[in-house]
Symmetry: C2
Subunit: 219 residues, 2 copies
């Protein structure tokens, strides 16, 4: 390992790195990881491949993160907040329309982290599930809040209604993705559910009586 006496400064250049650059590189690693995890699952992407995709070699990874598990949690939080912020301009009906769609189903890497990784997250340590709970809360809050700004007859959507529609939408996407590409069942699930969810939103759905615990708790 000592053979690096190095002669002649020929070395390929790779001058970069300022403090701000490093921070930017770190952020890039996180968002890259978030996308790769959505596409292939937490176990489907290794540190080396991840860093390569971000434009680095795998060695520098541990200057940014203490472990892969740490990055998994951070990438999850990043992806979840991304979904929530993208949703902030949508009301529930618009959200459902774009969420329960073929485009979303077929664009896993660019889609919702909940739909892409909740199955994996369920088996991960608690810190990741805590991020998911927070992400669900943020998304719920975003969907409830929409309409508040509008002066007209919009009223804040009931929390239960939002949670229900979200679970319904997630289930539709996951079932559809579990079917073979182009299968009629995959499309049928999407169409049936989208119509049903939208109907339940416009329908006289004012039923959110006390069902179990109603204690919102952002983590």
């Amino acid at each position: 390992m000592v053979g690096r006496s190095d002669v002649g400064g020929k070395g390929w250049l790779d001058m970069r790195v300022t403090k701000a650059q490093a921070e930017q590189n770190r952020a890039h690693i996180v968002t890259t990881a978030a996308r790769l995890f959505r596409e292939r699952g937490y176990d489907g992407v290794g540190v080396a491949e991840l860093m390569a995709e971000a434009g680095f070699t795998h060695g520098g990874f541990y200057k940014h993160f203490r472990s892969k598990a740490d990055l998994m949690a951070e990438a999850s939080a990043n992806g979840l907040s991304r979904t929530a912020s993208l949703t902030e301009t949508l009301d529930i009906a618009e959200f459902v329309e774009s969420y329960v769609s073929r485009e979303h189903r077929d664009g896993r890497g660019e889609g919702c982290t909940i739909a892409a990784l909740s199955g994996d997250a369920a088996r991960q340590p608690e810190d990741i599930r805590t991020e998911f709970a927070a992400g669900i809360e943020s998304l719920t809050a975003a969907l409830q809040a929409e309409g508040d700004a509008s002066p007209d007859t919009h009223q804040r959507t009931a929390r239960a209604t939002v949670i229900d529609a979200l679970a319904h939408s997630v289930g539709a996407i996951m079932l559809s993705r579990a079917c073979p590409d182009g299968s009629s069942l995959a499309d049928e699930i999407l169409d049936v559910c989208r119509e049903s969810i939208l109907a339940s939103l416009t329908h006289g759905d004012g039923s959110q009586s006390a069902a179990g615990s109603t204690s919102p708790q952002p983590a």
Copy 2:
């Protein structure tokens, strides 16, 4: 299938047929794998650990399966058909009641393969997704068929209603499982969705009646 077809004549074939025990061992490996995959995901359990859990060493694995991917497909089919057959005695309301429950959420290994592995299946090769589509169809058929035996009161539930309720239930379980153990959100999701799904079954479309028999059966 211990069928001893046995040919008295001199047909050339019949080179197969091993001990009946081998066939039984193979089946045991498949059901063990189905449970372990549900608990930890396809990538979360290795061949050696799997075989050990089934009571064997890892070497004999390839006398039964050509690859781990082969077993993954077979174990998926096994788990999915198990869920469908366990559901055959339930109508939709009973199904939802037992499916969208804390017991099911917390008993991943003994629960529904769709809820446990659809997130993983979406990233697997087509043969596994074909099994999932078939499993969804079987489960849908089982839920539609229930009630046919009864005289007038029940009529065949609409396919769309069943698919919709199934996706909704799956989404509820997956979201709840993605939350930390014992979190209030995890329980809230379950309670909100269960009530909503049951409500949509009783007053939604033009074909459905209330529950007649009561036999809540945890899978």
